[in-house]
């Protein structure tokens, strides 16, 4: 059985040039995640990776890594990053340029706004099936909360709560305001 498993394991998988990204928006950019589901050796390693490219002024909505730390390396261009801890403190608020690394701890909220047309990054994740949870947009936790819970949790009237839940029609990547 060893020959059929270990010796023939697939050891390479390209995510940088992928023609089938997991998320794609022609005005905002693309995302591709590689997990142990499509690259089984990652299960042994307990690691995964994500490649993202975001167009100028487009945004990756605030999100957090549910079950992994993320070590993000900028491949090209630059972007503005904000990282927030559990007490609501911005533990990072600044520009990240090509060649720089930022560690985003598990569960810390992060948002990215690209400053360049060719901004791209690779993020190494410390779990072989990492999950992210968006805090804004179509699949966000806030959108999934009942309207009344949003209204009372955020001290909003119903109409404002409805806006908060529904105004952003995008999943992860939001195009720049003028192209919306």
């Amino acid at each position: 059985g060893l020959e059929e498993t270990l010796c023939t394991l697939k050891l390479r998988h390209n995510i940088g040039q992928s023609t089938s990204p997991d998320a794609y928006n022609p005005q905002a950019g693309r995302l591709k995640t590689l997990t142990s589901l499509d690259f089984p050796i990652l299960r042994w390693l307990g690691l995964a990776a994500e490649h993202g490219s975001i167009y100028k002024n487009a945004m990756f909505v605030p999100y957090y890594n549910v079950n992994a730390n993320s070590i993000l390396y900028v491949l090209n261009g630059s972007a503005w990053f904000q990282v927030v801890d559990c007490s609501g403190n911005a533990v990072f608020n600044g520009e990240l340029n090509e060649g720089q690394v930022l560690t985003i701890p598990q569960n810390y909220a992060v948002a990215i706004k690209s400053l360049d047309d060719n901004f791209s990054y690779v993020a190494f994740k410390t779990n072989d099936i990492p999950q992210i949870a968006a805090l804004a947009g179509l699949t966000s936790s806030i959108r999934a909360l009942p309207l009344d819970v949003v209204a009372h949790a955020f001290n909003l009237d119903r109409d404002q709560a409805r806006q908060l839940k529904n105004n952003n029609p995008y999943k992860f990547l939001v195009p720049p305001p003028q192209s919306q």
């Binding site: 927030v84 948002a111 909360l145 404002q160």
Partner: protein, 301 residues
């Protein structure tokens, strides 16, 4: 394989003590009491404990934690929700058509569950959770956070990441009191939610909302105390008619007992089958052991 081992000598006890909560944070509609997670016994076990009391119409604001939680309902009834990232919203109302306008977006949300005394609620790491007391009796919930669980890739300090409000972190208060490293690492414990650290412009763009709503998202217009807030007129959520939140407890227990009896009857009605199955199972194990001694993994099928 699910837990990290305690560090060397962390569990060498001469004497064990009964522990009571030693910190209490009051909210508008309830209280959260905590046991010091730095206590030797709790550190050895790798857990943190808290007791939450929610008054009538109290809503515990949504939050997630850096480790899995197990919650025991000591008293009361109510509803709760868990938001699994990426899962589809399952309940929805028909869209209202307003005059001269397109359909107005109506609420869609995930399953809302009911809880009652004696229930255990399991909350995975990083999954937002909220709960609400819709009855007269105060809800008392005991929560264990398993900080040494392998799902937690941070340190052993339990953290609650609130999605809204500007309340202080209950567990981080110990770090603050003891002047420990945790407080410095977290940049203080002034109170806030995971969105309050973002710039206004970021949030305006991310949610596509105006500045006033952004102030509310950041908890700036909110002078309500703590993480449990009062919903004066009562919380309205969509739930299917088959859920009976005010069903009498006795009635529910009767149903459970009937179900138990039904199961028992089914078992009693086919005793021979059972024995035959057991015999057959035993026989087939022997055959497998004889014929395929090296294929243990197949036996599991």
């Amino acid at each position: 394989t699910f837990r990290q081992q305690p560090q060397q000598n962390e569990c060498q006890f001469q004497r064990l003590n009964a522990l009571e909560p030693d910190n209490s944070v009051k909210s508008e509609a309830g209280t959260i009491e905590t046991w010091n997670p730095n206590n030797d016994q709790l550190r050895c076990a790798g857990v943190a404990l808290s007791r939450c009391t929610i008054q009538r119409n109290g809503l515990r604001r949504p939050f997630y934690t850096n480790a899995p939680q197990e919650i025991y309902i000591q008293q009361g009834r109510g509803i709760f929700g868990l938001i699994f990232p990426g899962c589809r919203e399952t309940y929805e109302e028909p869209q209202e058509q307003e005059q001269g306008q397109g359909p107005r977006p109506q609420d869609r949300h995930q399953k809302v569950e009911h809880f009652r005394e004696g229930d255990i609620i399991a909350v995975p790491t990083g999954v937002p959770f909220w709960m609400y007391n819709n009855e007269q009796t105060p809800v008392i919930a005991i929560t264990l956070i398993d900080t040494t669980n392998l799902d937690n890739q941070l340190d052993q300090i339990p953290r609650r990441f609130y999605l809204s409000g500007n309340q202080e972190q209950e567990f981080l208060q110990y770090q603050q009191k003891e002047g420990g490293q945790g407080q410095q690492q977290e940049g203080g414990n002034e109170g806030g939610n995971v969105l309050s650290g973002f710039n206004d412009e970021f949030l305006e763009e991310a949610f596509s909302v105006d500045r006033e709503i952004v102030r509310n998202i950041k908890g700036k217009n909110d002078d309500r105390e703590g993480s449990i807030v009062e919903v004066k007129e009562g919380l309205k959520v969509i739930s299917p008619p088959t859920l009976r939140p005010r069903q009498g407890r006795e009635e529910e227990e009767e149903e459970e007992e009937e179900e138990e009896e039904r199961r028992g009857d089914r078992r009693r009605h086919r005793p021979h089958h059972h024995e035959e199955e057991e015999e057959e199972e035993e026989w087939s194990h022997q055959v497998r052991r004889v014929r395929r001694p090296h294929h243990h993994r197949e036996d599991r099928n």
